[in-house]
């Protein structure tokens, strides 16, 4: 039985981007939000450190500086017109959050308090600046809660625990989505003039990751399966401070408050690599430095990790606290309560009295569904639009993060471009017409779901997933080479083939997470293929994409975005077929590419 619904506009995903879009779109249109998780379970809630905006509440700051930092942080692959919007709009977007009730930390004079963060500087790179607005180390939680609260206030319509499995695309235009109601297993057709994807990241293709189990990028895979392009998939950020082995994130706020990296020799090694910003250099830089320290035998006890040290005595010895001031254990407990607790719980280490083992963790997808600055999805590198399709947040690529995102810039991206996307969509539906659906739009994906349910074979989804995560981590991680990536690509394709023989245990209809997890694995396989293809193709090193065999940035040949796409017939299952890569030039307005030093 297939149920059918009609709306002006749909939003897929209820994290920061989806909820912000919903609040704005539903002011002018009939909107539904569809989410496989209860909205407050979305991964935005785990964001810790802060949201950047040049409010200048603590010290002089300007949106132009923020724009420059964003572009430099992204290793000049950022589209500068979009970065300008991000940095400018950040200011009133943060103010809008405060007006919605967000409990920001406050300065003694009652303004929003700010802290330092990696790569955010004053006067175009001269010194760290306090730009990250925050609520202790629970900023994402507060954003998610506040936006959801306002959705309740505004009576936004939600379909919670509905899993989107396909997009309905007819003659190149998006007409809605197909979703499974998780509790009943029923298939629902959502027919709409416009659909905005806000499904977050897909870090679960890597073994060590800060990403939730649910971050598998299913709607992004649907875009790929429909032959639409994905942009800059080779750029995946590895955050330097993941808890050793677990990958759970320890926010950069730890370093913003003065924490330093220490190697086996007890050395603050970032001083050597980044004399100005030191431990607050951008993430790609810090992750590579950790990797190099480990490679040269200076990992702790010769192993593959180093320490983050936030003991007050260490911070005070190096005078690495904010503004060089001394810090106390009590202040740290107040500013970093959650991450200190997490270190105590999950690693059994008290960071106030001992250094904590860390290693880089797969964190953030800079790439995704290409859009313009109003969230409209692009059909090609020339800027042709996909009628009815929008995207915002981590699943989208505007591109404001280029080759490497700065800390605190994702939360800004969510609210700034979620808002713009929501507004643009509401405007679009005023004049767009609701075209009739094609016959049996759910047919292909229902067939794939039924195949998974009934398939017999010797393969297990958990095993294929573990092999995928391992091969991607080892070969398409912090450092890569052509042969390594080629190994990963071959493996991913082998896994895709084996995916067809996965047998699941749960044959039921209701809450069949066995089935849906397997479907998610198929999505990860497609996105891993897109990532590896793009990484193999880009023969230079830029931002998060570091090729040992091509160690230099090459602006002559590679100052351009990758558009990768599947070119076979539309599919509702993992693709098996031809792919193609094309390029889109980077938009440069104010800042010419320079060598990147911190």
């Amino acid at each position: 039985m297939t149920q059918q619904h009609q709306f002006d506009a749909l939003i897929v995903g209820a994290g920061g981007a989806g909820l912000m879009a919903a609040l704005h779109a539903s002011k002018a249109a009939n909107v539904a939000v569809i989410s496989k998780l209860y909205p407050t379970r979305s991964h935005t809630g785990t964001a810790q450190g802060g949201i950047a905006a040049a409010l200048a509440n603590m010290e002089e700051d300007h949106w132009e500086w923020h724009m420059f930092d964003t572009i430099k942080g992204g290793d000049y692959l950022v589209d500068q017109d979009a970065a300008e919007i991000l940095a400018r709009d950040a200011i009133d977007a943060v103010i809008e959050l405060e007006h919605m009730g967000l409990p920001f930390d406050r300065t003694p004079d009652g303004r929003i308090e700010q802290r330092r963060f990696g790569g955010h500087t004053a006067e175009y790179g001269k010194r760290p600046v306090m730009r990250a607005c925050k609520s202790a180390d629970r900023t994402g939680h507060m954003i998610l809660q506040t936006l959801y609260q306002n959705c309740i206030k505004q009576k936004v319509k939600f379909f919670d625990e509905f899993f989107v499995v396909d997009l309905i695309v007819t003659d190149g235009a998006c007409q809605g989505v197909v979703a499974v109601e998780i509790n009943t297993g029923e298939v629902h057709l959502f027919h709409a003039k416009a659909t905005l994807l806000a499904s977050g990241g897909f870090g679960r293709m890597f073994k060590v990751t800060s990403n939730a189990h649910s971050l598998t990028g299913d709607p992004v895979a649907a875009v790929w399966r429909r032959g639409l392009p994905l942009e800059d998939m080779e750029f995946f950020q590895f955050h330097p401070t993941g808890m050793y082995k677990l990958g759970i994130l320890l926010s950069e706020a730890a370093r913003g408050e003065g924490g330093v990296f220490i190697n086996d020799k007890g050395e603050r090694f970032m001083e050597r690599y980044a004399p100005t910003m030191k431990d607050l250099a951008s993430r790609d830089v810090c992750s590579r430095c950790i990797y190099l320290e480990v490679k040269e035998g200076r990992g702790i006890g010769g192993k593959d990790y180093v320490y983050i040290d936030i003991r007050p005595e260490t911070i005070n010895r190096y005078q690495s606290g904010p503004g060089g001031k001394t810090v106390t254990a009590e202040e740290l407990e107040k500013k970093l309560p959650d991450i200190i607790e997490m270190m105590r719980v999950y690693q059994g280490v008290d960071p106030i009295t001992a250094p904590v083992p860390i290693q880089p963790t797969a964190h953030y997808a800079m790439g995704g569904v290409p859009t313009d600055a109003d969230g409209r999805a692009l059909a090609d590198e020339r800027g042709t639009l996909v009628p009815g399709l929008f995207a915002a947040g981590e699943c989208a690529c505007v591109s404001v993060h280029g080759a490497n995102r700065l800390g605190t810039n994702s939360l800004v991206d969510l609210v700034v471009f979620g808002r713009r996307g929501g507004r643009a969509m509401a405007e679009y539906v005023q004049t767009a017409e609701l075209k009739p659906l094609p016959a049996d739009p759910a047919g292909a994906v229902v067939q794939e779901l039924e195949r998974i349910r009934r398939q017999t074979g010797t393969e297990k989804a958990a095993k294929i997933r573990a092999e995928l995560q391992e091969v991607m981590m080892d070969n398409v991680g912090v450092f890569r080479t052509g042969p390594m990536i080629a190994t990963a690509l071959a493996k991913v394709r082998e896994l895709k083939e084996r995916f067809g023989r996965v047998q699941i245990d749960d044959k039921g209809q209701r809450f069949n997470t066995d089935l849906l997890e397997t479907f998610e694995l198929g999505c990860l396989l497609d996105l891993a293929e897109a990532t590896a293809l793009s990484a193999l193709n880009r023969t230079e090193s830029r931002g998060a994409h570091s090729r040992d065999d091509f160690p230099k940035r090459d602006d002559v040949d590679w100052l351009k975005h990758t558009f990768v796409r599947y070119t076979g017939p539309a599919s509702a299952a993992p693709t098996n077929g031809q792919t193609a890569i094309t390029y889109k030039p980077v938009t440069i307005t104010k800042f010419q590419p320079q060598e990147r030093k911190y």
Partner: protein, 238 residues
């Protein structure tokens, strides 16, 4: 280490009522109970059904009864709940309708949450300079603890008053109300206190303290409930 885990199972499509199933598992002492459940699901029985997402205690998906105590499966370590060769028991939350295995219907919980108007109410004009409303650090601190809530339902489903009558709005909804009632930017206190003062409001709380013990975010839930009772009794917000 090796031990057994006994899990309450229920398949609504084939069973009238739940039963227990026991699995032999292997885990590190530092593993999370969630890792153990994944071990069962991924190595032994794919039909085991649970909610989870973040795996580090922030999203609120995996509250359940672990050895009879409400907790997040991703925030309880194996070494703290079971010994080598021992038995670990995992059951769904009590007091909410059972859906399948460890999954309960969260809708009644969210309905209570929505009933306290969990959003900022302020009808004054916004600051003319286009900037943030001002709030002192002390005023911000006043309602801090309530903002930690992740809506996992561990508190509400540990409360004997809620087990006794599920119309009681429960500790989580009161914590959410507290978060706004004591925010000096908010003007909705009177309406919220009216809801809280009703028959199934805050007076159903018998100070059993289960909620405070159950909260994985260490919110002093009973204390916050006490402050709401106080505000109702005296008509003053302090």
């Amino acid at each position: 280490m090796k031990f057994k885990v006994k899990i309450k199972r229920y398949n609504p499509e084939t069973e009238q009522k739940p039963h227990f199933e026991t699995y032999e598992v292997e885990a590190d002492p530092g593993d999370r109970v969630l890792d153990v459940l994944h071990y069962v699901k991924w190595q032994q029985d794919g039909t085991l059904t649970l909610r989870r997402s973040c795996a580090h205690g922030i999203c609120g998906s995996d509250a359940m009864r672990i050895n009879g105590q409400n907790a997040l499966a991703c925030k309880v370590l194996v070494k703290d709940v079971v010994k080598e060769g021992g038995l670990l028991t995992v059951e769904p939350l009590l007091g909410l309708p059972l859906v399948k295995d460890l999954i309960v219907d969260m809708e009644p919980f969210f309905e209570h949450y929505r009933s306290v108007m969990p959003f900022l109410v302020n009808n004054d004009a916004l600051p003319a300079d286009g900037r943030e409303r001002l709030q002192s650090p002390e005023a911000r601190d006043r309602f801090d603890k309530g903002t930690w809530c992740i809506l996992c339902a561990a508190c509400t489903t540990s409360c004997p008053s809620f087990w006794g009558n599920d119309q009681y709005i429960g500790p989580a909804a009161i914590v959410q109300a507290h978060r706004f009632v004591f925010d000096d930017r908010d003007q909705g206190a009177a309406d919220r206190l009216e809801v809280l003062g009703q028959q199934f409001g805050v007076w159903r709380c018998r100070t059993a303290f289960n909620c405070t013990n159950a909260c994985p975010r260490e919110i002093p839930v009973t204390q916050l409930i006490g402050e709401v009772k106080q505000a109702l009794a005296t008509g003053k917000l302090e």
